[in-house]
Symmetry: C2
Subunit: 142 residues, 2 copies
DNA sequence: TTCTATATTATAATTATTCTAAACTGTTGA
DNA sequence: TCAACAGTTTAGAATAATTATAATATAGAA
């Protein structure tokens, strides 16, 4: 596998041992054309069902957090129930579909750049992100 | 207490029985000049320590959710660990101080109105909110 | 190959939140 | 006024997401 060689290099170069499990998780996450959003449970299920590998849930948590720390993943909090992760690590905006609980990337060009007139004194702005909550046009009640 | 009479009316008019506990929680939440952010645990502690009343945690959860449903509170998800609630129920932006985990309101005039050029087809925009993550100028690592 | 730091794993622990079911209370209408 | 009942509170159990533990396994260096 050519891609696996890349993953091994990527892991090694960031100081992570390229273990069987980490490589599998790389496959599940980065062997794609498009970025996507997932929960830890989604990921564990995908690996078990589609990639036919059983990785301990603790390892999936550890690896996802290690990848986040290395900047390969980004964590997104929309509702408090569970945490979403994003393979798109750039600062970017989201639509959140309240009907389906789906998180959808919003192109940066879709929103004009946002200017913060007064920042908190003594602090540096790390990110400015917009969350657009949408729902079906009918039924306003949730 | 004059305010309590108001709380009783408010509760009654929204179809919630004005129980001792709900009135206490109203006091803790709405007997102030400024809106604020809190977690359920903060609230339970405040009631116990400052208002010298012990309310079951289940009741605090129930009441906060009932108030949210009635539109008196708003839930905010910043990190997945716990849920923040806001007595400012308007659509508004936030600063989140990553050093202190503090959530701070951002005046609407502090950001020019945001125009979404392309919305998701068939969906209505319910809210557009900005989250600005800030941290101390030194130390970039978390 | 051997050694050691790291990583994985099953499992237990923790934490936030929700559920349950019994006891209690605000409201209503006789 | 007060009994009756629906709605509410409560302690504690249950759940679900996540993290900690500690024994076992493995990658990489020597
Ligand atoms: Mn909730
Ligand atoms: Mn986390
Ligand atoms: Zn995204
Ligand atoms: Zn706020």
């Amino acid at each position: 596998m050519n891609t696996n060689t890349n993953f091994i290099e990527k892991l090694r170069s960031s100081g992570l041992r390229p273990t069987k499990q980490r490589i599998k998780i790389c496959e599940a996450l980065f062997d794609r054309n498009e970025t996507f959003h997932f929960t830890i449970n989604d990921l564990a299920k995908t690996i078990e069902e589609k990639l036919n590998e059983k990785i301990s849930l603790a390892t999936v948590y550890n690896t996802v957090h290690a990848f986040k720390k290395k900047g390969y993943l980004k964590e997104i909090s929309i509702n408090s129930d569970k945490s979403y992760f994003d393979t798109n690590t750039s600062v970017h905006h989201h639509f959140f579909d309240e009907d389906t609980n789906e998180l959808i990337d919003c192109n940066q060009e879709n929103i004009d750049s946002i200017n913060i007139k007064n920042n908190i004194t003594g602090k540096k702005i790390n990110s400015v992100e917009v969350l657009i909550k949408v729902a079906s046009d009918y039924q306003n009640q949730k």
